[in-house]
């Protein structure tokens, strides 16, 4: 496992806010030369800490007015039905994410829809008809906030 110092953590916080920052821009923020910043970013990539990017869109502006988190319990459990369910559910374009969970439900789905009646159509025609689907609980997303996580707040360099 890779050990991070305050500069690494500062770089991760910067990239969480804007993944498109150049090595030069990162270097200026944390007090490193462009090549030194680039080496730090590469190291974080190679260690698998920087694991990709998330594109944040204004869903309303794109015509997707509703996001719903669905808890799904499978009625019949077993290896085969899990695989079948996962394959079928991931193929639905409105299903943005699928997580296998342990607890009250078996899966958590994130579903986007144009409006509530569109969501009802997706739920009834595409999700409830899948093999093995049992109990379903829907919660409509009102607000969402991503947090930086345990990266501290330490500055990369002492203030001048």
């Amino acid at each position: 496992m890779i050990a991070l110092d305050d500069t690494d953590r500062a770089i991760l916080r910067l990239l969480q806010a804007d993944a498109t920052l150049s090595a030069g821009a990162i270097g200026r923020e944390v007090g490193l030369s462009q090549p030194a910043a680039w080496r730090r970013v590469s190291r974080l990539q190679e260690a698998g800490v920087l694991a990709g990017r998330r594109v944040e869109l204004d869903l309303d502006a794109l015509g997707f007015g509703v996001t719903v988190f669905l808890g799904v319990k499978l009625a019949t459990k077993g290896r085969v039905s899990l695989t079948d369910f996962e394959r079928a559910i991931t193929a639905i374009p409105e299903v943005q994410s699928v997580h296998h969970v342990l607890g009250l439900y078996d899966y958590r789905l994130r579903v986007v829809a144009r409006d509530i009646s569109d969501f009802e159509r997706i739920l009834r025609r595409r999700i409830m008809t899948l093999p093995g689907v049992g109990e379903v609980e829907a919660n409509v997303l009102l607000s969402e906030e991503r947090r930086p996580g345990p990266l501290g707040t330490g500055a990369a360099r002492p203030p001048a």
Partner: protein, 151 residues
């Protein structure tokens, strides 16, 4: 209103968020200059709100991810605001969502192991204000992550 070409850019960007500007230009059949202008416009109009690096917390030794579904004591007028403000102060909370439904609020909490989780849960989560009920679901695996949109 978005043009078809904007939708095309966003489709390609969602399909491969790491793509460079040159790669995106090639895939969308635009010149680099046109693509750059379009991306700027999507940002200026607020459609493209941001591109964020995702951290794999496992690579940093956080093996446990728990989704906490909370219901709040809604008799307190500022229950949501006070809860959210307090949850922001817990470093291990990586997502905060509010809902209309049986669940009021969802927190994603990461921890190094179960003992660490237990510590966070007891000292930082149960002490949050206005909790009426908590259910915990542990994330076993991500089968599909925020991939696309039917644009």
């Amino acid at each position: 209103m978005l043009k078809d070409s904007d939708r095309r850019i966003l489709r390609h960007l969602l399909a491969d968020p790491q793509a460079s500007a040159a790669e995106l230009a090639e895939r969308t059949g635009m010149t680099a200059a046109t693509l750059g202008r379009r991306l700027d416009r999507l940002r200026d109009t607020g459609v493209l709100k941001g591109q964020h690096a995702e951290i794999d917390w496992r690579a940093l030794g956080y093996e446990v991810e728990v989704s906490l579904r909370l219901t709040l004591e809604k008799t307190a007028p500022r229950a949501f605001d006070e809860m959210i403000a307090a949850a922001r102060d817990v470093p291990e909370v990586t997502e905060i969502q509010t809902f209309l439904g049986r669940v009021d609020l969802r927190l994603v909490v990461i921890a190094r192991d179960m003992a660490h989780y237990q510590e966070i849960y007891r000292d930082r989560i149960l002490t949050l204000p206005h909790i009426a009920d908590i259910e915990a679901l542990m994330t076993v695996a991500a089968v599909k992550t925020e991939a696309g949109l039917p644009l």
